[in-house]
Symmetry: C2
Subunit: 253 residues, 2 copies
């Protein structure tokens, strides 16, 4: 920490702005090798020091108005997990019927959760009233607090990957039922119910991509300039050219 | 990539599961040194290769049902940015009146955006209909697609930090007005309007923390076990003990 060049003496600045190449490499490695894990959990326990580190990572996510709306529920009790698994089974059955006939078999065969096999479940929540009704930055877009908790999820997910831990996000569940199982008051939203543990292996690609459910979209098709649908190709725009050149970048980690 | 021990031959696995200490260090360094930047932007342009990399990072966020609901609007046009700045000014004026009298002066003096000073603005959106009405994992919790786009924001934010770029999230703006300025159809939600650029310095702590607006909460007070509000102290639970021991962990990067 050094002294701050601006007028407020209490604000110190980071001295080491630059990342070394291997530090940057580590971040990209986590980003590109993170997977939603459902079926490869090993029963090995997650030690307190590793769990503490990934929780600190989550707690240092950005939050609107610095409200830090998240809580972390560590769920080890097998009775609670059986109930969550029951809620998943029910929702999964309902979900199957929503898909067109030709996709139902594929859907039914996908492994979509590891609630009981993973040694640890974690629920990251959002307290919508944490710092009172008026929050800086949430005066107009009311969902900003939910988004903050999602940022905490993503921080934890990346830290877990760097610690060799797999994480799976269980979203096929009725929210109110989950609230009731975990004893959550109505204004505490369960943002992410996560299964966490060491794994036998991480897949190279997302499972839905490998299963042929959906392909990864080419990044260049997702870029717009200044206005929605204002597209440019590589001859008009060097950024698109660069994106096309970098196509294999994520596979280099 | 290696061959997959499971039955599906098309699924290859990651060979290099473990992270080296310096790789893990790099990830935590990005997480703990990321800041919401409003006031320290330098006019230096962001090169295409750096921008391409942070966009790939965003594009490799988790997404519900692999729907990849995000788009990336690169906004450089000064007229568009002036309009967004106008929308911010209007919302900011409205917001000021929502705070109690004694907080209004502090609020008014906070620098909350860098729309025109940063060399680049980026809007990350969510296409709610990207892959049709029925999405794996979004059958019960309908906001999962919004959360996916937020994960993309957080990936980009961390990658930007590792590239030495500051990012500021502008959320004080009317959503419909922003849609209208950017030409977004109604079902394309602008999740995050970001200001991006190199900075003179990063602050050591979040600005709202330094300004005394709110303190950082102690992580151990945010941990629950199996049921909401089921708390344990360090004598009952070694995880809490570990978290207390690790209090200075985030400052070590």
């Amino acid at each position: 920490m050094g002294s701050d060049p601006s007028s407020k003496p209490e604000q110190t600045v980071q001295e080491d702005i630059q990342f070394q190449p291997e530090e940057r490499h580590g971040l990209y490695k986590a980003i590109f090798n993170r997977r939603d894990v459902r079926g490869q959990f090993k029963p090995d326990p997650v030690s307190d020091d590793v769990l503490s580190r990934v929780l600190y990572a989550a707690h240092h996510a950005p939050s609107v108005g610095f409200m830090q709306p998240w809580d972390f529920m560590v769920i080890r009790d097998s009775e609670v997990r059986q109930k969550v698994r029951g809620a998943f089974d029910k929702a999964h059955g309902e979900a199957t019927k929503m898909f067109p006939d030709e996709k139902q078999d594929t859907y039914r065969n996908l492994k979509l959760e590891g609630i009981l096999e993973s040694p640890l479940n974690l629920c990251i929540t959002c307290d919508r009233n944490r710092t009172g009704p008026v929050v800086i930055g949430r005066t107009h877009i009311k969902t900003m607090d939910l988004y903050s908790s999602v940022c905490a999820v993503q921080n934890l997910w990346l830290a877990a990957r760097a610690e060799g831990l797999g994480v799976g996000w269980v979203s096929i569940v009725d929210e109110q039922e989950l609230q009731s199982i975990l004893g959550l008051p109505r204004d505490i939203v369960p943002i992410a119910y996560l299964c966490i543990g060491y794994v036998s292996h991480f897949y190279d690609k997302p499972e839905l991509e490998s299963a042929g459910w959906l392909p990864r979209m080419p990044l260049q098709e997702l870029i717009h300039f200044d206005q929605w649908q204002q597209r440019r190709d590589g001859e008009q725009e060097s950024l698109i050219q660069q994106i096309e050149t970098d196509q294999t970048f994520p596979t280099k980690f």
